[in-house]
């Protein structure tokens, strides 16, 4: 970790990584989408609407994973004062928010056919994900709420850490409370209870979503670093020095 402290080094590594990541991501997307739409069976109960799963589930997983990453960055910033954490957190939050939004929308689109309702207030899984979404929004808002960018980043980091309590709720709400939402069948500890023909595309899509996340993370971090350099130079000019 620490050896990435210097942004210059980070940038060098990131730039080297980016093209390969991009290629892999595209490949995963292509194959994943192919399987999802053409080479996987419709569900015996749900028919073709099951295909929403290939978007919904990976998105949901990424929503949680991105938040975990955000929390790690926050800790790096507050505890170890890791210089890059600020940039990475700022870059990651909107991506996580995006995935959460997709999970929510795809979920409620899926809910209509399978539960007969778009949204169920009071369903623990749904609510907790909505809360997760709020945390992302709060993080983004707080980051930009101060004239002093550093202050905003730190404040947002505190929030991110506080919000960690919500992650287990999202994950285990289905086990803790009786929800409309089905419990983990794939990401279950031990054997996964889902047909391989559905598992393959699902995992491919998951990989694609992950790759996409990493690519954008790098791109956004790079842009942020550039922005900072520019602002610093402007200030330098303003000081007339």
């Amino acid at each position: 970790m620490q050896f990435l402290a210097n942004p210059a080094r980070f940038l060098r590594i990131a730039n080297a990584l980016l093209p390969w990541l991009a290629i892999v991501t595209v490949a995963l997307f292509a194959s994943g989408l192919y399987y999802a739409f053409f080479d996987s069976p419709p569900d015996y109960q749900q028919g073709d609407s099951v295909r929403i799963m290939y978007v919904h589930v990976p998105a949901a997983w990424m929503a949680m994973m991105a938040y975990a990453a955000l929390a790690v960055f926050a800790a790096m910033l507050l505890v170890w004062k890791h210089p890059l954490a600020e940039v990475l957190a700022k870059a990651a939050a909107p991506l996580g928010a995006g995935y959460t939004f997709i999970a929510l929308v795809s979920g409620s689109l899926w809910g209509r056919p399978s539960w007969g309702t778009w949204w169920a207030w009071g369903d623990a899984r749904l609510t907790s994900v909505l809360v997760l979404f709020f945390f992302y929004l709060g993080h983004m808002a707080l980051t930009h709420a101060f004239d002093d960018a550093a202050r905003g980043a730190k404040a947002a980091a505190v929030l991110a850490l506080v919000g960690v309590v919500n992650l287990p709720v999202v994950k285990f709400s289905v086990d803790w409370w009786s929800t409309l939402h089905q419990p983990a069948s794939i990401s279950r500890i031990g054997a996964s209870a889902i047909d391989p023909s559905m598992l393959t595309p699902l995992l491919l899509m998951a990989g694609a979503f992950l790759g996409y996340f990493l690519c954008l993370l790098i791109l956004r971090a790079r842009a942020e670093l550039a922005r900072r350099k520019v602002r610093a130079l402007q200030l330098l000019a303003a000081e007339g020095g």
């Binding site: 507050l78 809360v131 808002a141 709420a145 404040a155 505190v158 850490l161 506080v162 919000g163 309590v165």
Partner: protein, 221 residues
């Protein structure tokens, strides 16, 4: 007398003397409830049905709204600097202010709630559970709100932010609070709900002072 008690006493005094947001909160709570019969139309069934929800929602808002100025007032007139520059840690400052806020807003709210319940002709069976739930719930709401308030002190759009940051964390309290009351109304045992609320309160008591202190340190920079 430690810093905690001192700040508590001071803030309570101020709350009693200043154009107090706390008092608004209570007024707001009662008024909000009075408004619903007008709005909803006095149909008793409906009122009874929605009473617990309305009670908790308005209570939550009533505690949340005045919180924006919890630290802002002291930050603006320079008192926050001095409060931070004392042997007593920031954590105790957060706790003290939260406590003062709860005593000046939460308690009156509690006292007012039976009246409000009456206005919303809530079934008498729910009163006990309502009071117990509010007693356990409102402190948690305030503690969570205090952290949010510390985070947004000095922020450009503190108000909305506060709501945005606090509510996600406060939702569970609301849900279990309402759950308790409704359970009581249909005659189910409320113990489980109250236990959860108590658990939330304990958790908040442990976590929020730390988080709040961290947030305040930033506000001082």
């Amino acid at each position: 007398m430690g810093g905690f008690a001192l700040i508590l006493a001071r803030d309570l005094r101020l709350a009693l003397r200043r154009p107090t947001d706390g008092a608004v909160a209570v007024a707001f709570f009662v008024i909000a409830a009075c408004l619903f019969p007008f709005g909803v139309g006095a149909d008793p069934q409906v009122l009874t049905r929605i009473a617990p929800g309305v009670l908790w929602a308005t209570a939550l808002l009533a505690t949340l709204l005045p919180l924006e100025r919890l630290f802002l007032a002291d930050a603006e007139d320079g008192a926050l600097d001095r409060l931070a520059l004392a042997p007593n840690g920031l954590a105790s400052l957060v706790l003290a202010k939260a406590a003062a806020h709860w005593l000046s807003v939460g308690l009156p709210l509690l006292a007012a709630s039976p009246v409000v319940a009456l206005l919303l002709n809530m079934n008498a069976a729910g009163y006990g559970a309502l009071l117990a739930a509010l007693l356990l719930g409102t402190p948690t709401l305030v503690l969570i709100g205090a952290v949010a308030a510390a985070l947004v002190t000095g922020a450009r759009r503190g108000g909305v932010l506060l709501a945005l940051l606090a509510l996600p964390l406060q939702l569970p309290v609301l849900i279990f609070g309402v759950g308790a009351v409704e359970a009581a109304l249909v005659g189910d045992p409320v113990g489980a709900y109250l236990q959860v609320l108590a658990g939330l309160l304990l958790g908040a008591l442990v976590v929020t002072p730390i988080a709040g202190a961290a947030a305040l340190k930033l506000a001082l920079e």
